[in-house]
């Protein structure tokens, strides 16, 4: 790891002031530090968000759940409020990495990183979450742009994610047994206005919505509506873990399981 300067601001405003060219934010560090060790990233300075009290916590209102950026996966997994409002989200957080990873990794870091195999982007897209930054509010569609790419601009920090509470939701993940990232992950949400199915781990352009499945489920919210369906392999990743055809098949299987789980709630 190359040397860098280290700053530990105590407010978002101070953090933004320090975010000059060559500076990078460190949240849980569970993506950034491994990348820096491999010298794939060499920031001149790190801005640690770990001491900003406003960036930690979970807030429930009648219609939404807002999770501040520095809230760890472990805190989301164990939160009574999350389990009650959106149990699928607590379950998703509990499936990220392993216990030690969950004690450090944060929701803000996960969405800002937009890893194509990360779990939270699927929840954001399916639930219709709003990504909150120090400057604006973005819909998930506006925010997630592609592989490791988001709409974040220079000097912009994710401050939290706000999830509307769905009628029902569930997440099913086929984990890569070595890395535990999603080989295929499908988040299904029955929202007051529509039904959404978001897929992670598969798309060569990152998280996406499987609209054919959404249309089929709009007629009847049951795994039967998806019987025999699999996603199109076009635009899916092929790598040593799984080829596109296998991923396309798994998307159908995970979607049916997720719908069943949601319907049973």
């Amino acid at each position: 790891m190359y040397a860098f300067d280290y700053h530990r601001p105590t407010s978002v405003k101070e953090a933004v002031g320090l975010l000059t060219d060559g500076a990078k934010i460190v949240a849980g560090g569970h993506t950034l530090l491994p990348t820096m060790k491999q010298r794939l990233a060499a920031p001149e300075s790190l801005i640690d968000l770990g001491r900003i009290p406003d960036l930690v916590g979970i807030e429930r209102t009648p219609r939404s759940l807002t999770i501040a950026a520095m809230t760890t996966h472990g805190a989301v997994a164990e939160s009574a409020e999350v389990k009650e409002a959106i149990p699928a989200l607590a379950e998703l957080a509990a499936l990220i990495g392993d216990p030690a990873v969950r004690h450090r990794g944060t929701i803000g870091g996960s969405v800002a990183n937009n890893d194509p195999a990360a779990d939270y982007p699927a929840a954001c897209l399916a639930l219709g979450a709003t990504i909150l930054t120090n400057k604006r509010k973005l819909s998930s569609e506006e925010f997630f742009l592609g592989l490791f790419e988001t709409a974040l601009e220079e000097g912009e920090i994710v401050t939290g994610v706000s999830f509307p509470i769905p009628h029902k939701a569930a997440y099913e993940k086929f984990r890569n047994p070595a890395s535990r990232y999603a080989l295929v992950g499908v988040f299904v949400a029955k929202r007051p206005s529509d039904i959404r199915v978001a897929v992670t781990g598969s798309g060569s352009n990152g998280v996406f919505r499987w609209t054919e499945a959404e249309d089929a489920l709009a007629k009847r919210f049951s795994p039967k509506s998806l019987e025999g369906m699999s996603a199109s392999p076009d635009g899916l990743n092929s790598d040593l873990h799984a080829d596109a055809a296998y991923r396309a098949h798994l998307i159908g299987v995970m979607a049916r399981r997720a719908v069943q789980k949601a319907a049973d709630r």
Binding site: A3, V26, G29, L33, P34, D48, P99, A100, S179
Partner: protein, 165 residues
Amino acid sequence: MTSVSLTVNGKAVTADVEPRTLLVQFLREGQRLTGTHVGCDTSQCGACVVHLDGEAVKACTTLAVQCDGRTVTTIEGLAAPGGTLHPMQAAFREHHGLQCGYCTPGMIMTAVDLVRRKGHHLDEATIRHELEGNICRCTGYHNIVKAIAAGAEAMAAEPVREAAE
């Protein structure tokens, strides 16, 4: 250099470190606490697990400067001052939960954190699931799982001194 002050195994420590110093380097090279191991250095194996404010974390993926003002407990901080083993350590010995011993400190720190979160009565499936971040290349995990189940029960029986936390 940046100054860090933290509590390590109950003792206040202040040191000047380069910001890029990993917590595991700080512990092993700075504090000579070599019980915390480096297996993979890529956040996968769990040999480096310590407690940060009571929670299991990978010391190879945490910067020492991120621990300023906080409390770290390593495997050296688990046994009672006289050297009496912590019940989880004793269970690993009793059930032969190790062969080469390289992964053992991380296994034990993870196990103690698991008891904190999930209580004293742990079934095999829970233990195996919770060990996903700790890799052992000799035992096949069987005795580790047994040791953790027994250690968890023993921790309930004995009012444990709150490690150095």
